[in-house]
Symmetry: C2
Subunit: 496 residues, 2 copies
């Protein structure tokens, strides 16, 4: 109430890297999540919702960007001085939940989860610090059957999300192949330095499709300077080691059977590697028996999935259809989901290994991709707007809207003021298909005018003469007030 005081006016802006979403995008995401959730539920997964916050020590540090192990999460101290962090994925909270309730859970424990996660990273175009994940995990089931089921579930989920068969592929690899390869390449050391070096190799290979073979070779060897001049340390492998690693990741054959046969040769003598080969063999046999062929699920040895916690099979969902942006340039889609086996994640709490496998669907990337698919669809349609021309007749306008809603239409009364042109402009801005108009003339005759705004917009494109337009007005007509709902039904039924 301090009227004369200079009042601080904050600038209305959202924090960097966050976004607002309105209308159709939310509805599209909600519908996709409902369809995916239904697939998870049909497969016996129950929903689990954990808090946005976890204690920082319980969350652990399993972020993709291990180059910055202390960054990446939003953290604060609670009033009892314990550090809490916002979850950066849905897997770490699952590990905490399973460890907390281990004895009481049915095992295997199947749960799915849908919700926002937060990453305290540098925002960029299309790169947000808050986004939705949609995961399914099976905890307490060993490889390989639970893993095969995850691959099939992943394929089913893609199709439920609206990606047609043939437009996606679930790529499959096994982390132990790489481990075996590194062992037989003389990188089997047990110490932390050696382990870190294997991590560098994994992350380097993960960049194969982004940096190409030459870029990856630099990262496997001496290190690499990027365009901006930043230098990334390399793993320090020699030329023979690099060749061996690269020739492995490019050894994928046309069929899963052939790839498995090739792998058996490569890994002769590597115990770790052969466990991976055998797992892939059993999995792909089961997939083939259930008719999930290479068009849906295919071994691809270049799939790495950077996360260090994976211990067995890893999966990645990729889109394979061609799309072009508005300038006609081909669009390259990032992977729309990934997953794998992580037998060690609960061990952090329990001290014992608990086998677990899961997938995570990249919801916003899927939505973006689907937008390319259905480009050209009709624009979204807003509610029917009942104009409010006489202030003291508001109840009668609300009654019209209520009748239309009862008949299944979206409908609202304009509540902003009595200016007629402004009301019609509002209806246009809302993309209303129809405006319902009852001035005093119509009211006295027991009538109501229905203005077809979509037809009107269509016609006005073809009419040059403003006078002709006003005289003709084929896009609006008058009916008895008692026939309002029927007339609206008929008008909207005739539209596409």
């Amino acid at each position: 109430m301090a009227k004369k005081q200079k009042i601080f006016k904050p600038k209305a802006r959202k924090p960097r890297g966050f976004r607002d979403r309105l209308g159709d995008e939310i509805v599209a995401e909600r519908e996709m999540l409902a369809r995916i959730s239904a697939v998870y539920e049909a497969h016996g997964f129950d929903p689990l919702e954990t808090p946005a916050f976890e204690y920082t020590d319980a969350l652990g540090k399993f972020l993709p960007d291990v180059d910055r192990p202390n960054a990446g999460v939003f953290s604060l101290t609670d009033d009892d001085d314990q550090w809490m962090s916002l979850r950066y994925d849905l897997t770490a909270p699952l590990a905490r939940y399973v460890a907390e309730h281990y004895d009481g859970l049915p095992k295997p424990f199947r749960r799915y989860a849908v919700g926002p996660v937060w990453r305290n990273e540098k925002p960029g175009p299309g790169r947000f610090r808050e986004f939705t994940q949609c995961d399914a995990d099976t905890v307490g089931a060993p490889a390989p059957y639970a893993d095969a089921e995850m691959c099939m579930l992943f394929a089913d989920v893609m199709e439920a999300a609206g990606i047609a068969r043939g437009d996606y592929v679930i790529r499959l690899n096994d982390r132990r192949l790489l481990t075996g390869l590194l062992e037989t390449t003389g990188l089997a050391g047990d110490g932390e330095a050696e382990s870190a070096r294997r991590g560098i190799v994994l992350r380097a290979l993960d960049k194969l499709d982004r940096l190409g073979e030459e870029g990856v070779k630099l990262l496997l060897g001496p290190g690499r300077k990027d365009e901006s001049g930043d230098f990334t340390d390399g793993a320090g492998l020699d030329a023979a080691q690099i060749d061996r690693v690269i020739s492995f990741v490019t050894a994928t054959a046309q069929t899963n059977t052939k790839t498995c046969a090739r792998l058996r040769e490569i890994f002769e003598g590597s115990e770790t590697g052969l466990v991976g080969v055998e797992t892939l063999k059993v999995m792909t046999n089961e997939l083939a028996a259930l008719d999930y062929k290479e068009d849906r699920i295919k071994i691809d040895l270049s799939i790495i999935r950077g996360l260090e916690y994976y211990t067995g099979p890893v999966f990645e969902a990729d889109l394979t259809f061609a799309a072009k942006d508005e300038k006609g340039r081909p669009v390259r889609f990032d992977s729309v989901g990934g997953g794998g086996r992580y037998d060690g994640l609960v061990k952090r709490f329990k001290g014992v290994e608990v086998p677990a496998v899961g997938i995570s669907v990249g919801v916003s990337r899927l939505l973006t991709a689907l937008d390319y698919k259905k480009a050209g669809d009709s624009a979204p349609r807003g509610p029917i707007v009942v104009l409010a021309l006489e202030k003291d007749r508001m109840a009668s306008y609300q009654a019209m809207a209520a009748e239309l809603r009862a008949a299944g239409f979206r409908a609202e009364v304009y509540l902003g003021g009595s200016n007629f042109a402004k009301q019609l402009k509002y209806a246009d801005k809302r993309a209303a298909p129809l405006a319902i108009i009852q001035g005093s003339d119509e009211r006295e005759n027991g009538e109501v005018t229905i203005k077809d705004l979509e037809l009107g917009a269509e016609l006005s494109k073809n009419i040059e003469d403003n006078k002709e337009w006003r005289e003709d007005q084929p896009a609006q007509f008058t009916v008895k007030r008692t026939e309002l709902v029927e007339a609206v039904k008929k008008t909207l039924a005739s539209k596409p």
Copy 2:
């Protein structure tokens, strides 16, 4: 990999005041939110989703607990040293959004929002620091018609959420009645101290049903010491002032018309008060014309809604049905939602008043209340579990599950190990209605056994003799493998 090193094992626990939710509770909330959202959409509201974070200066301080104006939110600094806070409601982010996009928005702007909010408060039983809100607001529409619509929407939402007509009431008051009352009671001063004093009065009255008349009188007067010995400062009114205020908040009549008539007398000569009376009069006239009578929407002068930002009508949704807890004691429900007009909220950014009115539904309280209503309903049912008895036949079990899913059932294969008893125990723990069993005998005969776990549980209650049970086993039967789906359909169709 440092095997001999002592490894830190964090304790698996969630942060204080947060909770995990599993299965049916999530499904129930999701379904309720879908029904409420459908009502909002039918009335022309579009969904808006804002980020979890807002800049702290943009969020402002409109928390209910104005006694602790600097507490209440979770805040942290971004890496550019700007303070960000997690949203504590969905209204403050709406104000920021409207201010940021004001010129481009259709006006009135109708939006609804669903999502979690966070309060950095002391947790208690049933009092969580993260919970879901579900709001609808109309920005840019003046009183009283937008306010009347909000009341009707509120009633429709209660019924969509599953509260029958007669089991709830939307209580209605106008903040300007109280302001007028305070003015005519000699509390009209313009300074900050006087404004703060009026705030104390508002918050005192808001505690009427919790503290009773005597407790509130202390808060209006000298102040009050609670059971724990904590002292709350009072507003310092004298006895005559206190009487006047109390007699107003207890003056509600049976019908809205009578209450309005009474109010006209009370506020004769108070300009502010009469604006409030006139607003309520127009609103209740419209409500009556649209058949929203006192059984659904009723003026109640004791409704305060503590938030200081309200500037006109305020609403509160209360449940009126009787319920008892498990010990037979009557349960008192807190209000399940509230709202009102707040014409000043966008002013913080824009410098000009933007009329706005909205409601917020307390989703978890509604769910709790509904639980009392439907107590005694059947327990939730899990997926059909296909046992996996022969390791190398996994694909055939998955094929059975896939067939059942294609027929519309939830179905999964047990993936944990081959022990038969353990598998049946798992099926029980999952509340599976049926277990599907194919051992080697059944397989060789082209058959499959269907075990009715619900019927089995029912029968085993009545059977004393374990031997009789095993010989009889009416709860399981064998069918041809090709008839699996049909037999499951028939069995489940015969159940409640």
